[in-house]
Subunit: 217 residues, 2 copies
Amino acid sequence: MKMEKDKTDKKDHILDVAERVFAEQGYDGASTRMISGGAGVNMAMLNYYFGSKEGVFLAIFDRRISNFQAVLLSIGNDESINSWEKLDKYLDNYIDKVVTNSCFHIMLNREISKSKKTDLTDQITDIMMKNVNVFLNIISEGIRKGDFNKDADQQLLVATIFGTKNYIINTPHISSKVLGYDVLDTDVQNNLLKPRFKKYMKTLLKAYLQNENDNNK
Amino acid sequence: MKMEKDKTDKKDHILDVAERVFAEQGYDGASTRMISGGAGVNMAMLNYYFGSKEGVFLAIFDRRISNFQAVLLSIGNDESINSWEKLDKYLDNYIDKVVTNSCFHIMLNREISKSKKTDLTDQITDIMMKNVNVFLNIISEGIRKGDFNKDADQQLLVATIFGTKNYIINTPHISSKVLGYDVLDTDVQNNLLKPRFKKYMKTLLKAYLQNENDNNK
DNA sequence: TTTTATTAATCAATCGATTAATTAGTTTTG
DNA sequence: CAAAACTAATTAATCGATTGATTAATAAAA
C-alpha cells in the first residue's frame, strides 16, 4: 500500500491554495497556472488528481459542505430545545463556520451570482438551499407554536440572515471600511467580528420576531 | 456636426447588451465577442468606442451611478423631514433603483466580491461607499436626535440593508426559489417584489431602531 | 476631399488540457 | 536478499482553442 497520508496532504494543500485563488480572482479569473504555481506543483498534477479545473472546484466543495450541513440539520431536528434556542444555536454555529471558512464562501457566492443558469449554479443552489431550509423550518415552527410573530416575512428574513453574512464576508473591501477593521484577518474575525455579529443578529431577530404583546422576554 | 443621436443610441445599445452579458457571465467569463455578437456590431467597434473591454465596463458605470447618487444624497441632506421619513424615502428610492437595474448591480457586486485588491475593486468600493455613507449619516443623525435606539449597531445595520438587497438581486437562483417567484422578471419585480421588500425593510428597521420605551409610534 | 464609421483578417498572449518521457515507490520473482 | 517488473507520481513540452486587441482596407458622411 502506498503512503496514503502524504498524498492526502498534498491534495489538501492544493485545495487550500485553490480555494484562496478562486476567492481572490474568481473562477474564470483564476488560471490553473496560478493554482499550481501557488501550490508549488506541476500544472499537470491538477488534472492528474482532480481531472480538470472544474474538478478542483468541486473537490473544494466536497471537503467543506458535508460536515457543516450535518451540524445545522441536527440543530433543526433537536426536539429538546425551543424555537428561540434553536435560532440561537443555528446562528452561533453558522456564523462561526462561515466566518472561519470565509475564502470558501467568497468563492461559493461569486459563482452563484451569475444570472445565467448553468450546471454549476444549479449544483451550488441545491447545496445552499439545504442550509436555507433548515433555517426556514426553525422559523415556521416557531410561528406555528406561537413563539414568533405570525406576521413575520419568513422568506425575506432568509434574505436578511444570509444577505447580512454575505455582505460582511463576500464584499470584504466594503465591509472592512464600514466596520473599521479587516474582516479577512483571522484575529479580527475571532476576537471582534464573530461575537459582535452574533450579538447583533440575535438582537435584530428578537426585535423583529418577538410578539408585540410580550415585551419582556 | 455628426448625427450625435444615432451614435449615442448605438453606444447605449452596446452598453445595454454588455451589462446583461456581464451579469450573466461575470467580467472574466464574458468575452468581447459575446458582447459584440449580442449587440450585432463588429468586435472592433467596442475598442473604437470604449477603448477596451475594461472601458466598456467603466462606461456602464458612468451611465448608471451619477444620477442615482445625486438623488440619494439630496434625501440625506433634506432638512425638512425627520429621521424616520428620511429612512423611508431612502429605502423607497434605493429599492426602486436597484431592483429595476438589477443587471447592473449583479455585475457590480460580482466584481467587488474578489478578496484581492485591484484598481477596479478600489473604484467600485469608492462608488458604493457614497451610498453607504448617506445611509450611515441618516442613522447616526437619528440616534443623535434621539429618534433611534442609541444601542443600535449602525455598521452592521449597513450590512443588513445592503446585504438583504444583494441576496435578493445578486443570487437570483436562490432568492427566486426562496420567494417562490422569478425575481428577475420585470412584472414580478414591480408588482410583487418591490412593495413586499419595502414593507419588510421598514418593519424590520422600525423594530430594531425603535426606542424601547415608545412602543406605539 | 476630409473626417468618421465599419469591416474582415490577423496579432501575440494566454487559456485548459494532453502528451510522452522520466523518476520514485512498491511488488514480484529468481 | 537483490534484481527485475510493474505501478504510481511527476516533469517539461506542446496541443488546439480562445482571449483582447490591432491592423489596413473600405464605406459612409460631412
